[in-house]
């Protein structure tokens, strides 16, 4: 039993990403976009070895289902490069699990998408998605702290 729990804890980031991506539903989690939360968190805030490739694959899958060729994949790579090269912000010791950087990560992508298809309905929908992703960022990342004290 102890072994099972430790294995679960070890693979939690991968399972969480897969779980959120697979449980895609219209409006609440379209194309499994909520998987961006664990992808960001376990790549930049609580980095896990081997997760970057996994995150890249799931960004690619989100893009495929959104019909946005390599869009989030490019943004992920861009942030990976920027965060890796800089030493101004220590992502692992930032308040609120670096939620402000996550806002920037998601916000920059959504802002580009707003301008590429500008209508009132899309604008409202994109704002909703931005708010929803950021609202869920705190409880989903808190779940990690709760399971892995």
């Amino acid at each position: 039993m102890h072994n099972a729990i430790s294995i679960f804890k070890k693979y939690l980031p991968f399972l969480m990403t897969l779980f959120l991506w697979r449980l895609s539903v219209y409006f609440w989690n379209p194309a499994g976009i909520l998987a961006l939360i664990p992808i960001f968190y376990y790549t930049f805030v609580r980095p896990i070895s081997g997760f970057a490739i996994f995150g890249l694959i799931f960004c690619f899958l989100i893009d495929y289902r959104c019909n946005l060729p390599l869009f989030w994949t490019c943004i992920y790579c861009l942030f990976y490069a920027i965060i890796g090269f800089q030493n101004y912000v220590d992502m692992q010791h930032t308040n609120n699990n670096a939620s402000h950087v996550f806002m920037l990560f998601v916000g920059s992508g959504i802002l580009l998408l707003i301008f590429s298809g500008l209508t009132w309905a899309n604008l409202i929908n994109n704002i909703w998605l931005f708010v929803w992703l950021n609202v869920l960022y705190t409880p989903i990342t808190a779940l990690d702290n709760w399971i892995k004290p």
Partner: protein, 273 residues
């Protein structure tokens, strides 16, 4: 590995450099491979089923609860739905004879005018697996692929014979369909009962709109019916698209309102170009 170690810093810089190097590769690929994205789609055809399979295993309890709740909800509205359907059936039967006569008259006129309508020789029934309507892109996955005879470019219609979308990309067991509301969707259409043609374009969440009419004096109005016109040779003509809501907007079917579709296979192995 502590953060102060040189090897840690070096590894981090190398990884970041690799990510930075991947960026121009991806951007060049997007520009070069447009619009087919052959490598990207081929990769997705392998990764997507694997991720789905593993995802199915780990999410089954949640999906089972969701399916159960959905089943209970459906059962609760069954009686009400039955009443509505009976009323609709009565209406449909009342119009049936008129429609039969109109169809026969239409056939006669088509023969006289020598109009050849494309008609499907095979239909493939598929379930909508995921509605991926997000941002201004509206695509969805169906559970039939190349193995069932579905190919890229085929027409997807609802069970009411309304155009739903066009197959965008096809794996062996699944297909990605571009809905009419997708911002990249542009099809040639015609107003029924007239020679006025135009182009229908998806607007994302807000539906679809019609424009670029061949008659510049024409002003659309509510209630006009729109069908495909085959001007660009992409879609066969005569498939019902929707009804106009005002001067520009067209009431098209959205994938989140249906759960099952038909893929139409026309002559020339579904290729219209």
């Amino acid at each position: 590995m502590t953060k102060d170690k040189l090897s840690y810093k070096l590894t981090r810089i190398i990884k970041s450099a690799l990510a930075a190097a991947a960026l121009p590769v991806f951007i060049i690929y997007i520009m070069v491979a447009k619009p087919d994205y052959t490598i990207m789609n081929a990769l997705a055809h392998v990764i997507l089923p694997v991720a789905h399979g593993v995802g199915d295993v780990i999410t089954w309890p949640v999906r089972a609860i969701g399916d159960g709740a959905h089943w209970v909800k459906e059962m609760s509205v069954l009686r009400k739905e039955n009443k509505v359907l009976r009323a609709k059936l009565d209406d449909a039967l009342a119009n049936k004879y008129k429609c039969d006569v109109a169809i026969e008259e239409n056939k006669k006129l088509e023969n006289e005018l020598d109009i050849k309508q494309a008609s499907p020789y095979k239909t493939i029934i598929a379930d909508i697996q995921f509605d991926d309507s997000v941002f201004h892109h509206n695509t969805f996955l169906i559970n039939r692929g190349k193995k069932a005879g579905v190919n890229k470019g085929m027409v997807v219609v609802s069970f009411e014979n309304r155009l739903v979308g066009v197959v965008l990309d096809c794996g062996s067991q699944f297909c990605r369909v571009r809905a009419l509301t997708d911002a990249d969707m542009k099809i040639a259409v015609r107003i029924t009962g007239s020679d006025i043609s135009g182009f229908l374009q998806g607007n994302g969440k807000s539906g679809a709109s019609i424009g670029f009419f061949n008659d510049t004096q024409f002003v659309g109005r509510k209630g006009l019916k729109v069908i495909t016109s085959n001007i660009s040779g992409v879609l066969p003509s005569g498939i019902y698209v929707g009804e106009m809501k005002d001067e520009k907007r067209v009431d098209v079917i959205k994938p989140n309102n249906i759960s099952r579709v038909m893929v139409l296979q026309f002559d020339d192995q579904g290729s219209y170009k």
